[in-house]
Point group: C2
Chain length 278, copies 2
Amino acid sequence: MIHHHTSLVNGSFDQEISALDRGFSYGDGVFRTMKIRDGQPVSWPFHYQKLVADCAVIGIVCPSAELLMLDIQQLFPIDEFDNAEVSVAKIIITRGEGERGYAPPAVTIPTRVIIKSAMPTYAETYYVQGIRLHLCETRLALQPKLAGIKHLNRLENILARMEWREESIFDGLMLDTNANVIECTMSNIFVRVGGHLYTPDLSQCGVAGITRQRILGLESLLGLTCSQATLTLPELLSADEVLICNSLYGAFQVTAVGNQTWEQQNLASKIRNILTHG
Amino acid sequence: MIHHHTSLVNGSFDQEISALDRGFSYGDGVFRTMKIRDGQPVSWPFHYQKLVADCAVIGIVCPSAELLMLDIQQLFPIDEFDNAEVSVAKIIITRGEGERGYAPPAVTIPTRVIIKSAMPTYAETYYVQGIRLHLCETRLALQPKLAGIKHLNRLENILARMEWREESIFDGLMLDTNANVIECTMSNIFVRVGGHLYTPDLSQCGVAGITRQRILGLESLLGLTCSQATLTLPELLSADEVLICNSLYGAFQVTAVGNQTWEQQNLASKIRNILTHG
């Protein structure tokens, strides 16, 4: 019988977290979610670079790529037959343990956690036809000092995600407190207007995911200009095509936001193919 | 030899936290910090009521007062001689464990953690003369859905607290992104203008602590009107008297914010005495 470990904490299998960990006390850390295929994290250079950059924003020195890769190899051994398939790794890096109080200790040892989970199963219709979005009432607050990074302070996303329960809704569209379109609870968003592809500027809030970053680099392959811009809800609703993206599903076309609907088109599947095989 | 336990997790001594706890993954929870005197939490009815209310804002059902009091009695037994003195309890309530994803599971069992620590030692000068504040560059983002509650998403406070290291600075004054005065990193703030005592309105951001709430109820004892108001930095700097408060130290006069200084006055010590003995 093979024992299937599900997490690694500071290099040890299935350990728990100290009640004094600042990740637990204050959400003082960052995370990443990525596909693992044949024991290897997909798009690892993008993920690791983003992890290092996000850590740096809040003053955490990210563990080395070598150490994290060693962790991943332990948790996703390629000799386990079920790992020939795709699964998911979530990497959490926190500032480490600390006594009560917001000031970080003079010396901290970051806590690193890898959690293994199954790849979500997406309905065939999401790939073929597209997905529906709920328009969230919960707005994203403007905080330029934390904008763009995937930190552990995620109560806004939770409140937004609690707004709907319908299985037919894939994700929720979030505006900021100025009513500009920012992202979805677990996805970034793009709109096509003619030959231009836009994604919201994330200098005030939101998470700048690596799939968003990769799509911004596909200009020549897509034959579209790609840029970041301020995007209002009316602009999104009148766009020619809307799509969302993240590291797990790649890209899906948005076919409905509330009452606004879009015909099935091919940009999302084209992008998904490039991301996977390009 | 008596073993001194330092924490209680779901009623068990010195246990750790699951890596899947949503408090760790997302800061999905709330907390309270309070004094323990002779094994009893000081101002417990205020603290428990606030804990229940804060939990409710994010949809967590707070454990019963009886259960939490039982925990506190276990962690702070009155027969340990060192508990005749004052120490500190931090209570953390999270939504409990959950698989990856922002949607809370259909059924969750909240995680309850009590952490024991020593009462901070405050310099005699803080009581006699007052304290100095750093004016923080880090602003509080406007998020009415989370305003007032003491949740576990505290990266703004951490970034603000990381702005100074001088021992002579007791706390940092924080403005919101509209430049209104809100609070300090670990304290609420009041200003006296003539016979009026004002504390910032916290409907957009900030933590509405129970000592702030208690002070707002001292109108007749203080002979001052007490109210919440929008407060600009110039208004604070030109106030007759400024004081900060929290559950551990009670109230301290503010004698300096940057270059602005105030003469020693007696409102803070008067309030401290009423809070302690009144």
